[in-house]
Amino acid sequence: MEFDNNIPIYVQVINMIKKDIIQGKLPMGAKLPSTRELAVQYHINPNTAGRIYKEMEMQNICYTKRGLGTFVTEDSEVFKAMKEDMAEDLVNSFIKEMKDLGFSKEDLLSVVSVEYDKES
């Protein structure tokens, strides 16, 4: 597993799990791996894996059923908010980088529009 040294590892793994949820690889209500399985899967420290679930629970992305494990939320509002949050983060960092390059709002929008059409 390749991690970015500038971002805490638990944050990076949370983002990967969120992405899996948004893409439907981890459907709503699905059982998540145990902390140990998570540690082995991502090659991370078991205590970091524990922290990941704690943070995700605080954000209501998942919940723990005592004795059964950790599950992805079934709340569609949380799901929607999570998707919007991630999109917002991506867009904000993109805008910042483009501003640094000296792009105006209009230039930025037209570049996005042209490139988006090329891709699809």
Partner: protein, 228 residues
């Protein structure tokens, strides 16, 4: 679980360890970092009871290093420690004779995961394979404290991943793992505590995440700064 204070080891006219004081806590994975010759191996050998400190004390569960600590501590040295006539299978038997906590089923499972063959002769193994064998034999013990001296050295990337998986599988709330290495990159995400050793002294030591936050640097970057 283990406490060292002011450890020092002098060989004739050479000081291998100058001054190391630290506490190892249960359930954590430690990286023991430092370039070659910084004193990592001597430190591990002192904890495992193979080398006597010139000065300072080590306490394991409140007792000095001795019969009990040797039962509970699994040390894997950098040197290969099998006789050339042995097979992978007889290494298991040899370990079982030596260590009460050696788990044969676990050994068989680990040998399978490492893609080794029970009938293989030890002296016919490539260096990567014999490194995997050393790990399998050591981790097949149900020890309280594992001391792994350079488990990733000279091993290809696929075997490294396997070794890291094995280490993580062995990690539990009851066991403590110390990994000495100068390949920090590979272990950055795996460890929760670090000990930096320089010229036989423990210079920085603590929780990896805290150190990253306080210094605004990854462990890899800090390594480059300390030894660069």
């Amino acid at each position: 679980m283990l406490e060292c204070s002011n450890l020092k080891k002098v060989y004739l006219n050479k000081t291998a360890v100058e001054d190391i004081s630290l506490t190892l806590e249960k359930g954590r994975i430690y990286a023991l970092l430092g370039p070659n010759g910084s004193g990592k191996t001597t430190f591990m050998k002192m904890i495992s009871g193979l080398v006597k400190p010139t000065h300072g004390t080590i306490e394991y569960e409140g007792m000095p290093i001795g019969v009990q600590s040797k039962k509970d501590i699994a040390y894997m040295s950098t040197e290969p420690f099998f006789y050339s006539f042995m097979t992978v299978e007889s290494v298991g038997k040899y370990y079982k004779d030596f260590f009460e906590d050696f788990d044969e089923d676990k050994y068989v499972k680990l040998i399978g995961e490492m893609e080794l063959n029970m009938k293989d002769k030890v002296n016919k193994l490539s260096s990567g394979m014999s490194a995997k064998l050393k790990i399998a034999a050591t981790m097949a013990r149900n020890a309280k404290l594992y001391l792994l001296d350079e488990p990733l050295n000279g091993i290809d990337i696929i075997a490294r991943e396997k070794i890291i998986t094995t280490i993580l599988n062995a990690a539990s709330d009851d066991s403590t793992i110390v990994i000495s290495t100068h390949l920090v990159d590979e272990l950055e995400a795996v460890i929760d505590s670090v000990v930096f050793i320089k010229d036989g002294k423990s210079v920085i030591y603590g929780d990896a995440e805290q150190i990253r936050e306080q210094r605004g640097k990854s462990i890899v970057e800090l390594y480059k700064e300390i030894y660069g």
